[in-house]
Symmetry: C3
Subunit: 289 residues, 3 copies
């Protein structure tokens, strides 16, 4: 994390993030997750800590219905069994029909054929947001064959063009996770400099962020706040909590515990004081040169 | 938790609970769990901490056999894949045939059709105990359409009539989880005032209690202690450990860690000193008025 | 743990273990796990803490391909759904074809028929290593009907003959977990005295060791170090970290957290200073008499 690059920011998105955090805690958004077997418990605990109400409904015959009832939906492809693939397609259809915001997390696509084909079917349904590491975003855009599994082998900035392409093509907000997170709606690009390397040493560190995005998108419904703002707000809150947790951790085990505590205790004011974000109006490769 | 409502109790069920805790630790009951993907690891850790021996055998072709070998069985419907549904029916049949006590946890039934139908099939097999939040107990009794997912939208006392109805109809002990837990065999009603709100901020806080009930029911086999006593004892121990953990926690992450430590270290005497329970002989709506 | 039996050891395998730990951290081995639903999150966190790169790819149509790309593979039979069984056979075929080292963990075989038959099919593919408790190793060798689920009812030394038999029959290194771990390639036998009882109070304490073995076997590829050395090194590192964690734990909850921290922070020198291992040249029943 380049500490000097981004001083605590006064960009209006920070005030919006503070407001959204309060909204999440005032009226816990029912967040419907179809996620992978590795991180399902951690993801539910992250949502509970944030103040949202998780529901992991990944059963065929229930997912479509529930996506219409939920406030936000996450579809994560980490361990896409046939049952989960069918339930994911149901959930996407239910979310689209009901206007429920939904997040697609195309875990480890590119090299792995089953999930790659599944991700392509889902992205055609125009997810509200797409979250992945650079390799996954490049693969989803058709610009690379992906990394080795969940291992990110490209930097977020390297995926900036792919992110904008995906955003424009599918009407989605695209978030590329990495040391500096990049979030775009195809026109505007936010870069978030908060976070900590320990987040990559806990399984679900990325996957659970997708769930928090779904919660914040849900909380933003009926407000003037855009999906771009909601996804950026979720990223800011999540990565600020990670920084605070890392400051009192001895390793990945104690970090995961402190992270859940911080997700529950970090206030809107804490968030405002620590947020480091910039809006990049022009293509990122020029903006940073 | 209404601290003044229930002073530490001298009701005989407390001494029975202390004895059952010791029995669990002397001869770890083999506790067979068919439970949901979100909480399976936490549930196993809770059982290990308590002193029981967990075994998560949810495979068709093994569940019926294993339910006959186990000391107690839990069937939880949180993520009921087709394989788990078939394995659950097998396990119920095996438990009934062998006389193994078993617990049904009808997670999120009511609004979700697949699990609701499955729960109705299972409850016909007359589970030894049924555990749920008020919305789930109301839905299982056919008195409501359920809450929104796992979210409890009714209070335990509101489900008192439904609990007694279910208990009488199926010969089960019914436990309604909430700020004050209600446990009934259809005639007698116990109310347990121990516990802590942080238990609702950890995924599996309710589900793992169902597993502990199965362990205590197993330990009670061959003793003079009734299923009503065993289920009440499990609830008392679990909620007392939660109180002790909350006293040294900074949030939901550190609470979950301290809770496992307390489940392992809380002694029978600790339990006796902290238990707050009352027996309500008459319908609860009259007893508290 | 018999503290006096094994003083810190100067056997050359300790220096090899120190070197392998450094190799794992220098070039994180991509470790492909098909493991059970109870421990999948914990196993990924253990691998991340150690410094390896976990990937839980248990989908039919992806597993064979990925086993060829991975550095090491674990196939664990804890919750063998039909999908996982098919994916496991794919992964074994892919590993064999590519020469990727792989570990078989035959969880709870013997009494449970589906996994027992599945384990027999897999062991015919000649795994690089087999890890289990004594009951599982006896059952896999056809010398017993197994324990009651994952519960070890036999001591590692009681399984010494079964371990050598399996090792010789299938060309595998066989590791028997217990208070003193026993590891053999059919000729040489190592006994490791490190470890702590708390490791048996955390679900996945044994299962995640199989994953660390796969990581160390992966790191040993292309070196002069044998699979016997790699499996012994993994066991030494894992059990030394457990000892260090236990020294600052209040129970199973805080132990699991400290264990992940120690897996990340224990250095090669720490390992060398604490390792207690002996080589037993002759059959163990004679060596200890």
């Amino acid at each position: 994390m380049s500490d000097l690059l981004y001083p605590p920011s006064a960009h209006p998105v920070v005030a919006d993030a503070m407001r959204l955090l309060e909204l999440v805690r005032e009226a816990p958004p029912l967040t419907h997750c179809i996620t992978n077997a590795v991180v399902t418990g951690f993801t539910a605990n992250v949502l509970l800590a944030v103040g949202a109400a998780p529901a992991m409904v990944d059963i065929v015959g229930e997912s479509e219905l529930f996506a219409g009832v939920a406030t936000g939906v996450l579809i994560n492809l980490g361990t896409p069994t046939p049952e989960q693939r069918a339930a994911g397609l149901e959930a996407a259809a239910g979310a689209v029909a009901a206007g429920t915001p939904w997040v697609l997390d195309p875990v480890a696509i590119g090299a792995l054929p089953v999930r790659t084909e599944h991700a392509q079917r889902l992205v055609e349904q125009r997810p509200t947001a797409i979250r992945g590491n650079a390799s996954e975003i490049l693969a989803l855009a058709g610009l690379s064959a992906g990394g080795r599994g969940v291992d990110a082998t490209d930097s977020p900035d390297a995926a900036a063009d792919a992110a904008r392409l995906l955003a424009t093509r599918h009407g989605s907000v695209v978030a590329v996770s990495g040391p500096i997170d990049l979030i775009t709606d195809g026109e505007r690009v936010f870069r978030v400099a908060n976070g900590h390397e320990l987040l990559t040493r806990v399984t679900g560190g990325g996957c659970a962020l997708g769930a928090v995005m779904a919660a914040f998108l849900g909380a933003a419904r009926g407000t003037r706040l855009s999906p771009l703002t909601a996804v950026t707000a979720a990223t800011l809150f999540y990565t600020v909590a990670a920084e605070r947790a890392a400051a009192r951790s001895a390793g990945p085990g104690s970090f995961a515990v402190a992270f859940l505590d911080e997700l529950a205790s970090t206030t809107a004011d804490d968030l405002g004081a620590a947020a480091r974000v910039e809006l990049v109006a022009t293509p990122i490769v020029e903006a940073v040169s």
